[in-house]
Symmetry: C2
Subunit: 396 residues, 2 copies
Amino acid sequence: MRCVVVGAGIIGLSAAWELARSGVETVVVDPAPAGGATAAAAGMLAGVTEFHYQERDLLGLSLPAAAKWPSWAAQLEAASGLSTGFRPGGTLVVAADSGDRATLADLRAAQAALGLAVEEITTREARAAEPLLTPRLAGAFRAVGDHQTDPRRTAAALVAALEALPNARLVAARAVRCGAGAGPFVEYDGGRLDCDEVVLATGGGMVRAGGTGEGPVREGLALEGLPAPLRLPVRPVYGDVLRLRTVPGGPLPSGNVVRGLVGGQSVYIVPRADGEVVVGATEREDGRAGVGAGGVHRLLRDALRLMPALGELDLAETIARARPGTPDNLPLLGRAAPGLVVAVGFHRHGVLLSAAAAAAVAALVGVPAPPGHAAGPAPSDLVPFDPAPFDPWRFS
Amino acid sequence: MRCVVVGAGIIGLSAAWELARSGVETVVVDPAPAGGATAAAAGMLAGVTEFHYQERDLLGLSLPAAAKWPSWAAQLEAASGLSTGFRPGGTLVVAADSGDRATLADLRAAQAALGLAVEEITTREARAAEPLLTPRLAGAFRAVGDHQTDPRRTAAALVAALEALPNARLVAARAVRCGAGAGPFVEYDGGRLDCDEVVLATGGGMVRAGGTGEGPVREGLALEGLPAPLRLPVRPVYGDVLRLRTVPGGPLPSGNVVRGLVGGQSVYIVPRADGEVVVGATEREDGRAGVGAGGVHRLLRDALRLMPALGELDLAETIARARPGTPDNLPLLGRAAPGLVVAVGFHRHGVLLSAAAAAAVAALVGVPAPPGHAAGPAPSDLVPFDPAPFDPWRFS
């Protein structure tokens, strides 16, 4: 069996590795692997604290995905010989003012009603866990099951794991034409690959430049051989993300992920073992690919309000990328046509869901799980994410 | 006659061009031309608004330097065929709160007493000149004689002008040893240049990493043949600088330089003709070469308080570089020994003073001004800046 995966973001690379280690002959086509949203993502594996109102259907995918991550990271590190940056540890959720505390308490009640483990703690307990937190907090919560990984390292490990397999390869080129139906294929600048299945994992790359979705899958990428029109309503939700870096002799965050609400706006602070501290993220739909000055200001202002000592760190990098947003914030994950599986639109959840999406793609393609690994989701588990046809009211 | 200039920042390049166009055989030695403070500098040609208390001696150099700039830029553009980014236009000085206004009014009185042309205007007049200014200003002033240039473009034009002259060349290498006295020379990685005069223009590069000055001229650069020990008390004063960029359809600054005082802290906003908007600058002596997160936050906060619409621009670049600071904020500009002229320690004033420093170096070396150009400063004009020996109380 032969599969061609279009797109080497965290979803495409994970799906390709799952297919390849299951024995499928696998080719990944992407001119710039891990150069899209994966390059910006903070890597919070936050099945619990990423829960938003009206995203209940996502829990069916996100909670198993979060549980799967420790073993997924261990397998990937063994296969690649590289660190993924996976770091277990809790997440602190803190409120800057009393309104923020009320908002977070309401959300915590909704999470508790769904069985999600978030507990209120004292601000003293929060500061014991992360001494860099300001004493001027209005409230604090803890989610013990939410870990983190480093998406850039994870993607590099996936590439290395793929390169180590004789039945997998990467083609550094841009796909221009895909065919579903009787004879699936992918054409790219400089070649053509015939296969049994095309896996479309074009993530943010599928978003039309400056567009609002519901058009062609991607500017310059033609889809052929479909039995019916395919609507993939993905739109670019830009985010600005900062990477700070600890300096010798300077303050050192303890390692907990900190999610804050500051005057009604969210900010997160993700400290890595290597001294990188990721601060994010804005959400804007203005079509601007550059880093927004106002967004950087807002992130620094709110992060420094929660952890003033972060001002002593270096600002090593600012980056903006588009998340592939969908109307209901659920991914489009399923079979779109014979010979064509779609795994796009993962919005804020791509890294968390990558391991689960990989297993889902393998199940959709019809390959059994590798020996010794749990089976992927049953087809019924994926009904809410079925991309063909997309029902704009599916979440009602 | 043959001169070797060590250092290709704005001072070294300007001195080299002045020497070369006067007929001197000129070599500039630098591994990374214009890579130091010149790469960060905003390029305000602010003889008036850069005036600080206790820097009166600087006016003898800075006011003629500012007056010289329009013709210097025109000559350089004609010689290189490149734009310098020189942009005439006034500078607005604005106060965020009443304390800031009182501080600026006191400074304005000190400037007026020295004959510097700064006039108070209404905040309405300030907003007519720059409509992006917030209406919530406490006060405003205008200095009509302060212009701007683009230091990166100016440096590129100087390099091109040098390369166009048969008697000038650049050596992309690091100087390791200089000799004054009977047989001046410069040794660099891979070669040696004998000459009649060495011009030391090592700017921030002369600063010892993490040091406080008064030691060797530069880590790894030996000075020989001096009749007496030479003290060059230069220390690194780091600054964080931002480059914003206007976006299609977004707000467009009018072109005036805006200098603000916001809660007692200075911020400047320099809009260029090509859409770049430079925001700076912090001053820190913490020895950290990286961009400071707290500094970036402070600059964005204060710039957005003065001109809120700047938040709609892209943040294109953050950069930190060391200014070469001296104990009295005056440059060290003069003859240090036979065969050795020094032009270092220009602190915040390098770009403004570059044209005047170039003429001073040519006069110190003893070459006449090029035909049709004004003579350089008389030796007596340079007495306050004499580097040999440096008197730590010379400003008392």
